[in-house]
């Protein structure tokens, strides 16, 4: 994924010849980028699990977006463009110092969960719908936050932000097929976490 970031930095965030005047730059920044600031902050916060880091990551992302505004085509998907910059900034600058307990790369994570997928399904299939329905937001958020960041990311992008698989593939620099399989594994893992919470809450585990 680092390679993907380098490619993105070099090929897509290059400062192409100016297409916007100074006034237009400010207008594009204000009209196209600023409306997504809450979603961007939320994404930064969910990635870093820290308010200060989320603030820094957000500001770095927006300043980078402003610096390379000429590589943004007005009227295209600004939200996906910004999310991609934020995700890459997180990988390059914040992941190392993040308070995230599980710092593993995509390949390692997927290898582990590929090998345990069947066993994992068996253990998560007895999660009851009623238990999930009765959980409060903090419990669902805790289960989400306890996932390795790579799996947490796909769930945030899909279920909280509502991106399509195609948009997620562009944001994450991975094929759509990988988006699907990673989401599937992330959800199995989330179900396992939710099942643990349900058990600790005293719900009956089996249907």
């Amino acid at each position: 994924m680092v390679n993907g970031m380098e490619e993105f930095e070099e090929e897509e965030l290059i400062n192409t010849k100016p297409k916007y005047s100074q006034e237009e730059q400010y207008r594009v920044f204000d009209k196209e980028f600023m409306p997504h600031i809450d979603a961007m902050y939320n994404f930064a916060y969910r990635l870093t699990n820290d308010e200060d880091d989320a603030n820094d990551l957000l500001q770095d992302t927006y300043m980078k977006a402003y610096r390379f505004i000429n590589s943004f085509q007005e009227g295209t998907n600004a939200k996906a463009w910004l999310f991609r910059i934020l995700k890459n900034s997180f990988i390059n600058d914040y992941r190392k110092k993040s308070k995230e307990p599980s710092k593993v790369d995509y390949q390692e994570v997927e290898t582990v969960y590929n090998s345990t997928e069947d066993a994992e399904y068996e253990s998560t299939s007895d999660l009851r719908i009623e238990a999930v329905q009765d959980m409060i937001g903090d419990e669902v958020a805790m289960a989400l936050n306890s996932l390795p960041v790579d799996f947490r990311t796909v769930i945030i992008l899909c279920d909280i932000e509502g991106f399509t698989y195609e948009e997620m593939a562009k944001i994450l620099d991975i094929p759509i097929g990988t988006v699907r399989s990673r989401l599937h594994r992330a959800r199995n893992l989330l179900k396992e976490k939710l099942r643990s919470y349900a058990k600790s809450m005293g719900y009956k585990e089996l249907r």
């Binding site: 400010y26 902050y41 939320n42 300043m63 999930v132 669902v140 279920d159 698989y165 699907r180 599937h184």
Partner: protein, 108 residues
């Protein structure tokens, strides 16, 4: 694609459940192909594990969407960002003005 259909009655076991769940998730996410949607519809009438899997996935997805708090960006951060962009713009404009002045001086 997984084939879970059984013409006789409701299936208690799904031999391709992992594949079916991936497809069910794609349907819930609005990213399934028309072929997958058709398969999903027919499967939901005959495969019990798929029906239960669908209901659970739908509930979890709704919980993530509606229950997990969306933290808003602090106003101070928004103000700081606007200030930074304003300053960056000001520096850029003043640099351009300086260059123009230097060019004029050199030409004159």
């Amino acid at each position: 694609m997984a084939d879970c259909s059984d013409k006789i009655g409701m299936k208690e076991q799904c031999e391709n459940h992992a594949k079916c769940m991936e497809m069910i998730q794609a349907v819930l996410d609005g990213s399934a192909s028309s072929e997958e949607i058709e398969h999903f519809k027919s499967n939901l009438e005959v495969c019990k594990p798929c029906i239960e899997g669908y209901e659970l996935e739908k509930t979890i997805k709704e919980s993530l969407k509606t229950k997990v708090e969306k933290v808003c960006c602090p106003q101070a951060t928004i103000n700081l960002l606007k200030l930074k962009v304003g300053i960056a713009l000001l520096i850029l404009v003043s640099t351009i003005v300086e260059i123009k002045i230097i060019q004029l001086i050199i030409l004159s």
